[in-house]
Symmetry: C2
Subunit: 514 residues, 2 copies
């Protein structure tokens, strides 16, 4: 059928979508989300059909930007349109929905079609849910990781040992990366760290690092920085490592499911050429993994998948029932990390965790007594020196002092209404407070926790301080503290946590960062 | 956040979709497919977020027609936008994905949100797949049927007994409805039959009936026709019975799954007020149900669900390995039905099937010896008379003769290359031929099968005739006959059906009609 092009100046997120009138769609024999093959000027492209009762006249075909640009057509140009089959990858997905495992060729085809925009949201959703329901086996996870690497950019560091660390997230205030990277690099081992920005948290590692330096580096710049300093801390989103994952995340978010956790993480590690990896699995109520048993299962999967991909992998199961250190929010966290590295202030849990993880990595890279070496890097000031080198190479001020980092102008203390011990800290409540105060958008906003679990507290003593750019946002954060049991102080733990009197609508935290 | 409206003149299929720049979305703390609450001029509406890097400037919000119309705003109007939670129904769907059964309140909420456009395609897909994977129990199927009835229009016929029949489809050429409706109505029993149009077949019952009369009747017109004649044959799509189902179908189509078969059918029967129902379950290779065991399971579900909804239900398991009668295609099928009713030509299998189904229905309505009565209605001409009454009331020509019905001008015979017996007929191959010839769009196009299973055939005798509006379409249908084993003639059955030498891409027929 010949139809006249009508560009509609909208993008469909990379998908080649066309709009047909219901009548033309019927004549072609396709329904909405079916496929048509467009031919024009010697080019051919299979497109996803949407139908409409409005905006188009019969004989017109609405083209999203992806299609307009592909054909380079303008309004009125005649396009040949015929019905065609769903892509072969859709057959594989349908089989997977029925429980059939996929082989690596089928998975590559699916991932390629996802990155090329050839699958609709309905179809990608069905793939994600099939994986969530039936689980991925190791072969599938390895094939997915590999396909996600192949469809994206990769970093080639000219070194035999390339170290990396990753936390699966869920603990607020975890600025461990800002310590581990300079520790490892100070021992001459390459650690090209890519990090994410906050999605559901107050700050991601890339947000924290951005307070000190530019994190939007391209592949060639990363290579230069790593060559010079052995380390870097950059935003992974600025380079297209495993772009399929960015598309999968958009489906996982509304559904609050995360079946691609392993391939997503491991593909990004493979893409930067890591050969030694420590995965931090924080454990606790507010984190992704609640029990040691579950963490062991997950750790086994990481180690086995790492083996398949040629990445020697170990896992660290860490305590995650409260924030790491005291600060939540990009600038407050960057300040705390810099204070610790420059030995201005202590944060025993942060230092401990950083030394644990850096220690394991150093050991895996052939340096004995890794933990001791890690601790020495901090106390000797070598880690601080290395971080300042990295800051300089990534365009920051290498002389920056913790107090130079701007934090929210407005602040408010929340004090204890009663004395006793801190019996309960809600990670999720603190996250909500920091986000209400303006994180992650207002970089200076956040929360500083003065008392941690089991600390003694006197009546009237400050439990925490909220920082914000706008005074009104302080009140929103205070309100959350009042409404929720964010920090509980008492002599003994009350056994009743919550009465359920009527059918509740559960509001569970879903941690998408990975 | 205050944003300026920018209507984009596109509909989102009833969904309230807005577009934000990535920066504004980040500032609000929402991702694509998240939700924002819009307030403007005293009105408030929760909308689904899409994000864009193009077409919008920061500070603008793109509004699909659904949102523009709701607020009645024009370009530049200031709208207050804040992040908000996913609708509660999304929590229920997430729970269902994890295997938790839904209660009737939860299901009602989901169906309401689906019809109101409050759920995205990703979210509706996850609901459909959860049902497909884990199956619906009877409580859920009943609650879904009821909710789908409540969210649509209903027909209230002022009679105690309201009969109905339904075929789950999959057999081409099944014009049984055109016979059953007048038979039942001729005995004074109300049968307000709503039918569908072809989706993946050459003709639906509504398409067949439309050859003889107007089928786009509104509720009040249907009531008038049924009051006068006891029967009607109308297109269900013209009235909004169970509109949620139309939305679910859009997701089921690309995935080739059909978990809502039962609630979809039964909700439409409930919506027309049926109290006695026969469900025809055709059995055979090309149909939805392949074995008697599977058909028994499905029949049990129909009968039990009918019981819950107050519809006394029986099922008929019918032979579906070849077309019913000889004709495929709207006009050819209407002609065949009229020929049979006016006793001009026989079609033993069609008459047999119509008498079986009408007989069961008459029996369920308290008339003994139903099958005999059904056969009598045909032989006595009472059924023909009743059909002509219905045709008149639905605006058709009550005097129409079979030969008056226009069929495709161009035709082509396909003859047997060898003599013997018809050993194999591919329903799916015949469907593809009829559709290539122009069905369902060209109403006169289709295929007439001259030889049915086990018929004796001489070399050179015509096996079938293809009819088309355009001669070029005949060739497309002929090509399908050549390429596929549509009709196989032989003295004995060859045991080898197909050699599988390399990894095949399976192409299975998916029958969406229901």
């Amino acid at each position: 059928m010949k139809l006249r092009a009508k560009p509609i100046c909208l993008t469909a997120g990379g998908k080649p979508v066309v709009i047909l009138t219901l009548n033309d769609a019927e004549e072609l024999g396709v329904l909405s989300l079916g496929r048509v093959k467009l031919s024009c000027g010697g080019k051919t492209r299979t497109c996803i059909v949407n139908t409409t009762k409005k905006i188009l006249k019969r004989g017109e075909i609405g083209l999203y930007d992806e299609v307009t640009d592909f054909f380079g057509v303008s309004a009125g140009r005649e396009i040949d349109v015929e019905a065609t089959d769903f892509p072969a990858s859709m057959t594989f997905i349908r089989n997977r929905l029925k429980g059939r495992r996929l082989d690596s060729d089928e998975i590559r085809e699916i991932v390629q079609d996802v990155t090329r925009g050839n699958l609709s949201e309905v179809e990608i959703t069905s793939f994600i849910i099939a994986l969530e329901h039936q689980g991925l086996n190791l072969d599938e996870a390895a094939a997915l990781s590999t396909a996600m690497v192949e469809t994206g950019e990769t970093l080639k560091i000219d070194q035999k040992l390339v170290a990396d660390k990753h936390s699966i997230g869920g603990v607020p205030g975890d600025k461990t990366t800002l310590l581990v990277v300079p520790i490892i690099a100070s021992y001459g081992i390459a650690i090209p760290k890519t990090s994410s920005r906050a999605i559901t948290s107050p700050a991601g590692s890339a947000d924290r690092a951005e307070i000190l330096m530019d994190v939007n580096l391209e592949i060639e710049e990363i290579k230069r920085v790593v060559k010079k300093t052995n380390g870097c801390i950059v935003w992974g989103g600025a380079i297209r490592l495993a772009p399929a994952d960015d598309i999968f995340v958009q489906v996982e978010y509304p559904l609050s499911i995360d079946p691609l956790l392993l391939p997503s993480i491991m593909s990004k590690k493979k893409a930067v050429g890591a050969t030694r990896l420590v995965v931090d699995i924080p454990l606790g109520r507010g984190t992704k993994v609640k029990t040691i048993g579950d963490a062991d299962l997950l750790a086994r999967d990481f180690i086995e998948l790492g083996g398949r991909l040629g990445i020697k992998t170990q896992c660290a199961l860490t305590y995650g029932e409260q924030p790491i250190g005291h600060a939540l929010g990009s600038a407050l966290e960057a300040r705390e990390a810099l204070e610790v590295l420059s030995r201005k202030k202590g944060a025993p849990d942060l230092i401990d965790k950083a030394c644990d993880i850096a220690g394991i990595l150093l050991g895996m890279c052939g340096l004995p007594e890794g933990r001791k070496k890690a601790a020495h890097a901090i106390t000797s000031g070598k880690a601080e020196e290395k971080l300042r080198e990295i800051i300089r190479e990534q365009g920051g001020n290498p002389k920056i002092k913790p107090d130079d980092l701007p934090i929210g102008e407005h602040s408010s203390d929340i004090t204890a209404e009663t004395g006793g011990y801190v019996k309960w800290i809600s990670n999720w409540g603190l996250v909500e407070m920091a986000r209400s105060a303006g994180s992650p958008k207002d970089k200076g906003a956040g929360v500083v926790l003065h008392k941690k679990l089991n600390s003694q507290v006197k009546r009237g003593e400050p439990l925490l301080t909220i920082y914000a750019k706008h005074a009104s946002k302080l009140q929103r954060a205070e309100k959350i503290f009042e409404e929720q049991m964010v920090v509980a102080v008492g002599e003994k733990m009350e056994m009743m946590l919550k009465e359920v009197k009527e059918v509740p609508v559960p509001e569970k935290a879903f941690i998408l960062e990975r």
